[in-house]
C-alpha cells in the first residue's frame, strides 16, 4: 500500500486536471497538462478526467477529449462565469470529496495559484507549486520537481496525502497531438456553493486588448531592459514581436523607470516565464532577472557590453547596439 494513504476504506483513483479557459478557448497550459497526464495515465493505468467549471462549458468538452481526457466533468453555474476563489473552491471541494481522485493537477496561472492552495487546505492535503517536472513514480505515484530560490536550486517533492495536488508552470510540457477521433464520457455535475464562499464579488474586469500572446504562456518573448533608453523605443521590440508571434517583456529597471507597465516585468518580483525562445535586449542578466526567465529553452542576448552576465547564459549572443540589431533581426525574421 502507498505510504500515508488517508482514505483507508475507499482507494483514491484517477488523475484530474482542472482546465482553465480564456474566452472561447481552453488555455494552452491546460492542454499541455492533459497531454502529460495522458502519458502518466497510460503508464499507471489510471483514468484521466478533465474538470471544467464555468458557464457554457460544453463547448470545451471535445477539445479536452482530443487531448487525452477519458472523462470530462462539467460544472455549470452562472456564479462560476467569472473566477472567484470562494465559489470555485466550494464546487471543486465537493466534487473531489465525492470522486476521491489520486491526483489533482492545475496550471500555475493567476487562477491556479489562487485556487489550488485554497482547495488543498480545505481538502487537508499538500501541494507542490509551480512545478517544472512531473513524472509517474511507482512508489509515490507522481514525483514533482520544482525550482526554489528563483531557480538556483530544485527540489524533488512527493505527497504523503491524497489527493496529490500540484500546479505546473506553463510551457513545461509539450502539447500532444490533437486527436479528434478520441471521445470522452461527458458528465454534468451539480454545483452547490456555500453561502460563506460568496463573500468576494468581482465588480469589474479590465483586460488588456492585445494581439500578442499572454506573457506566461508565450512560446517566444522579446524583452527590453534599461538599454531601451525610453518608453518610445519599445516599438522596436513590438514590431519584432509581431513578426514572430512573440510577447513583449521587460526587466525591472525598465519598469521602475516607468517605460513599460509592471505587468510586463520578468523576474523575481515579476513574472516567471518559460518560453522556448527568450530574446533579451539591453538586459544585463542580473540574478533576479534570471530567476524569472532562467528556465527558457533557448536564450538570445543582444547587448553592447561584451562582459554583460547575460552572455554567460545565452545560447546565442550578439555584442552590439540593440537599436541597430533588433530592426535588422526583424527584417531577417520577416524573410523566414
Amino acid at each position: 500500500m502507498l505510504e500515508g494513504l488517508v482514505t483507508e476504506d475507499i482507494k483514491p483513483e484517477g488523475i484530474y486536471v482542472i482546465l482553465e479557459s480564456a474566452g472561447m478557448e481552453i488555455r494552452k497550459v491546460s492542454l499541455e497538462l492533459l497531454s502529460k497526464c495522458r502519458e502518466i495515465a497510460d503508464l499507471s493505468g489510471e483514468v484521466l478526467t478533465a474538470v471544467i467549471a464555468g458557464k457554457e462549458t460544453e463547448r470545451f468538452a471535445q477539445k479536452a477529449a482530443a487531448y487525452g481526457a477519458d472523462r470530462v466533468i462539467l460544472l455549470e453555474d452562472d456564479r462560476l462565469a467569472l473566477y472567484t476563489t470562494g465559489a470555485y473552491t466550494s464546487v471543486l471541494n465537493r466534487l473531489i470529496r465525492k470522486e476521491n481522485p489520486k491526483a489533482v493537477i492545475l496550471g500555475n496561472t493567476a487562477v491556479g495559484k489562487d485556487l489550488a492552495p485554497r482547495l488543498a487546505q480545505r481538502l487537508g492535503t499538500g501541494m507542490a507549486s509551480d512545478c517544472t517536472g512531473m513524472e509517474w513514480d511507482e512508489r509515490y505515484f507522481i514525483k514533482f520537481s520544482r525550482p526554489v530560490y528563483g531557480g538556483k536550486a530544485f527540489l524533488e517533492a512527493v505527497s504523503d496525502a491524497y489527493p496529490i495536488m500540484a500546479t505546473i508552470r506553463p510551457n513545461t510540457f509539450a502539447l500532444g497531438v490533437e486527436d479528434d477521433n478520441r471521445s470522452a464520457e461527458v458528465i454534468r455535475e451539480s454545483t452547490e456553493i456555500d453561502g460563506e464562499d460568496l463573500r468576494a464579488i468581482v465588480k469589474d474586469i479590465a483586460m488588456t486588448v492585445s494581439q500578442r500572446p499572454e506573457l506566461i504562456e508565450a512560446d517566444i518573448i522579446i524583452s527590453g531592459g534599461r538599454g531601451m533608453k525610453g518608453p518610445e523605443n519599445y516599438q522596436i521590440l513590438e514590431a519584432c514581436a509581431d513578426v514572430i508571434g512573440a510577447a513583449v517583456g521587460a526587466s525591472r529597471a525598465a519598469v521602475d523607470a516607468g517605460w513599460i507597465e509592471q505587468k510586463f516585468q520578468v523576474g523575481q518580483t515579476g513574472k516567471t516565464v518559460s518560453p522556448t525562445l527568450y530574446i533579451a535586449c539591453g538586459i544585463s542578466g542580473a540574478i533576479q532577472h534570471l530567476a524569472g526567465m532562467g528556465s527558457s529553452k533557448v536564450i538570445v542576448a543582444i547587448n553592447k557590453d561584451p562582459d554583460a552576465n547575460i552572455f554567460n547564459l545565452a545560447d546565442y549572443g550578439i555584442v552590439g547596439d540593440l537599436f541597430e540589431i533588433v530592426p535588422l533581426l526583424t527584417e531577417e525574421f520577416r524573410k523566414l
Binding site: T85, G86, T109, A110, D114, A116, P117, R118, A120, Q121, R122, G124, T125, G126, M127, S129, D130, K143, R146, V148, Y149, G150, K152, A153, F154, L155, E156, A157, V158, S159, R199, A200, I201, V202, K203, I205, A206, M207, E217, D219, I244, T269, L277, I287, G294, V300, N312, L313, A314, D315, Y316, I318, V319, G320, D321, L328, L329, E332, K335, L336
Partner: protein, 257 residues
C-alpha cells in the same frame, strides 16, 4: 483598524545557493532579509494604520534569527511582533505553516491580514491563501490597490492579461504584488523605538498545538543544483551579418522559429 502582517525572513536574492553535506540548502554565511513582497504588505499596513488608527502586528514562523527581520519591520513602524519558533517545525510544509499561523493569528484581534504574494525562497505562494482558508475568511491574491472601510474592502488584483476589481467583506487576507506601493525605509528614530517594542517568541506548546498536529503532507526527497548554463555562440560579425546568422541559427539549429 487592527492589521496583521505575516512576514517571512528569506535569503537575500543575491545569495549563492549551495547544498550542504546532509543534502539540504546550506544557509551558512547567507545574508537574510525580509521577503521582498512582504515589505509591500508592511507598507500597506502602515498606510492603513496612518489613515484609520489601530495597530499593526507582525506574525512570523521561523528560526530565532527571524527576530532580526521582525525588528526591521518594527523599525518601519509596526507595533508588535510574534515569532513562532519550534524545532518541530523544521520540515514544515505549507499546510503546517498555515495551521500554525492560523493558531497564532486566531489569538489576536484583526480586521485584515496582509502578506506578500510569494516568498522568494521556496517560491510556493501557498501559505497566505491556505491561512485564509484555515481562518474561514476570504482572500484576494496579488493585489495592486487596496481601499478598506468598515467591514469591506475594494481591491484591484492582477490576473493573467489584465486586472480585476473585487469587493470583499472583512476580515480577509490580501497578498501584495509589486506595484501596490513603495516600501519605506526604517528611520534612525524608528530603529531606536523598535528596540523597546514587544516581540514575543512562542513555541507550539504556547499555541496549544501538539507536535503531532504539525506533520507535513509534502516531503522533499532531494535537493539539487541546476546544470549551469554556459555561454553559447557569440556571433562576431557586422550587424547585418550577425542578424542574418542569428535568424538562420534560430530556425535551422535551435528550431525555435
Amino acid at each position: 483598524m487592527n492589521i496583521i502582517v505575516c512576514l517571512k525572513q528569506t535569503f537575500d536574492t543575491e545569495a549563492k545557493i549551495q547544498i550542504n553535506s546532509s543534502g539540504g540548502i546550506d544557509s551558512t554565511g547567507v545574508n537574510l532579509v525580509i521577503n521582498p513582497y512582504d515589505e509591500f504588505a508592511v507598507e500597506e499596513a502602515l498606510k492603513l494604520k496612518e489613515a484609520f488608527g489601530g495597530t499593526v502586528t507582525l506574525v512570523c514562523m521561523g528560526r530565532e534569527k527571524a527576530q532580526e527581520a521582525l525588528r526591521t519591520a518594527l523599525a518601519m513602524g509596526c507595533d508588535q511582533a510574534v515569532l513562532i519558533c519550534d524545532p518541530a517545525l523544521v520540515n514544515a510544509d505549507e499546510w503546517v505553516v498555515a495551521e500554525v499561523l492560523a493558531k497564532a493569528v486566531g489569538q489576536l484581534p484583526f480586521d485584515l491580514i496582509l502578506t506578500g504574494r510569494i516568498a522568494v525562497d521556496d517560491g510556493s505562494g501557498q501559505v497566505a491563501v491556505r491561512l485564509a482558508e484555515a481562518l474561514h475568511i476570504p482572500s484576494v491574491s496579488s493585489i495592486l490597490k487596496l481601499e478598506a472601510e468598515d467591514g469591506k474592502a475594494t481591491v484591484t488584483r492582477e490576473i493573467d492579461g489584465g486586472t480585476e476589481l473585487i469587493e470583499v467583506s472583512l476580515p480577509a487576507v490580501f497578498t501584495a504584488q509589486k506595484g501596490l506601493n513603495i516600501p519605506r525605509y526604517p528611520t534612525m528614530l524608528g530603529i531606536m523605538k523598535a528596540k523597546k517594542k514587544e516581540l514575543k517568541v512562542l513555541t507550539l506548546t504556547d499555541l496549544d498545538m501538539a507536535v503531532e498536529t504539525a506533520v507535513p503532507k509534502m516531503k522533499c526527497l532531494s535537493c539539487s543544483l541546476p546544470k549551469p548554463r554556459t555561454g553559447g555562440k557569440k556571433l562576431d560579425y557586422q550587424p547585418s551579418e550577425a542578424a542574418k546568422e542569428l535568424a538562420r541559427l534560430l530556425r535551422e539549429e535551435a528550431k525555435v522559429i
